[in-house]
């Protein structure tokens, strides 16, 4: 059995990396979810900030 089939039988547990709303939707449905506080590896550049602002 592939790992995909193994997944089908299990409780879904999710790491959400990025948009908070996707994680919030899962939590609302009582799905075990860890929301990451992800930030781009760049740091300090204006480009980075505009990327961040797009996400929100």
């Amino acid at each position: 059995m592939s790992n995909i089939n193994e997944l089908f039988g299990k409780e879904l547990k999710v790491i959400n990396m990025g948009l908070d709303s996707f994680g919030d939707d899962l939590k609302e449905q009582n799905i075990k979810t860890v929301q990451m506080r992800w930030r781009p590896p760049a740091g300090g550049s204006k480009k980075m900030m505009s990327l961040l602002s797009k996400l929100k």
Binding site: R39, P41, G43, G44, S45, K46, M49, S50, S53
Partner: protein
Amino acid sequence: MINSTSMSSRVKNMIEQMVEVNGGKDIEGFIHSVFDYACNIQVSDKDLIGLISKEYGDNPYSISLDLPPGQTMKKLNMEQGMRVIINNKSIRSVAGHFYINLQGADSWEPGLPKEYNDLVDRNQLQSNLLEIMGTLLRKGNFLGIGPLIVDYPPIIKEFEINDFENSIKVNHYSSYISPRIKNLLYGIIKDDQVSIEKILTGIVGFGPGLTPSADDLLVGLLATLHYLGQYYKMEIKAISYLKKSLIDQGLTNQTTIVSRQMLKAAINGEFARSIKELSIAMIASKDRKEIERAVLAAINLGSTSGTDTLVGLLLGAYVIKKIKIKKEENYGSTCGSKKEHILRFGYINDSNKRIK
């Protein structure tokens, strides 16, 4: 195992260089001081590497750690004097008490950007400063020396802010240091090296917090001197005067070890990530929301640290503006008299008498 989330390129390079000098072998250090969410590792006579929980933000001299809930440095069995082994991949105790994974940590540059694609015009800069001030007054923590900003009516007026909160109350710390800060600004505008040094003796190390409030304010001041200096393509002499006093004359010895590192970095144009991001936003962003977000992120540094720093940043912006006006006036008549400055700043208290 504890994972590190990020470290400044300064710390990364320092570790790499020390390992290289040591012939590629691990280096040793010892724990200099331990707090719940931070600790300092001494790696040479002069150099410390900080370890700090990521909630406190990224600093030029430290490695940020992803501490799970409930975890503290002390619970990791860190103790003063404990020997640690450091290499490019990890920091661990000789006795195996803890292991900090450095792989996967983002390296970020704390220094000044070399160039900018797009800087805002003067009007936008002014409105950005206004936005910073407005957000700070609404959301800041004014329990450090932050309230001294209300002693500066010219600045409040400068930024056309009238509706600031009455809840900002002066306290022992702010009222004690306020006149000295005024004199420092005056000294900077005058390019008066002697008085800058004299006044700084009465400022460095003052105020509550592990990084005393006054030091935070100086860092904010240095941030605008550096960044607005870049913006106006102006050499700010005051930076070298501040460096002379703080570093060469050893004034940082009168404050805490953490503060000393912070000031040393700031003199060289290196700032905490949130302060750097705000400074760049100040001169390069046209997005109010972006500025507001950057201010809020900076305010979140420590409890009063962020606010104290931002007050320094705004005072710095005011100083730069005065320096510019002075320079432009100097091309014409010889204006910029002492009297005029006293009028602009309000009454200057002769607080030097009180300094031993």
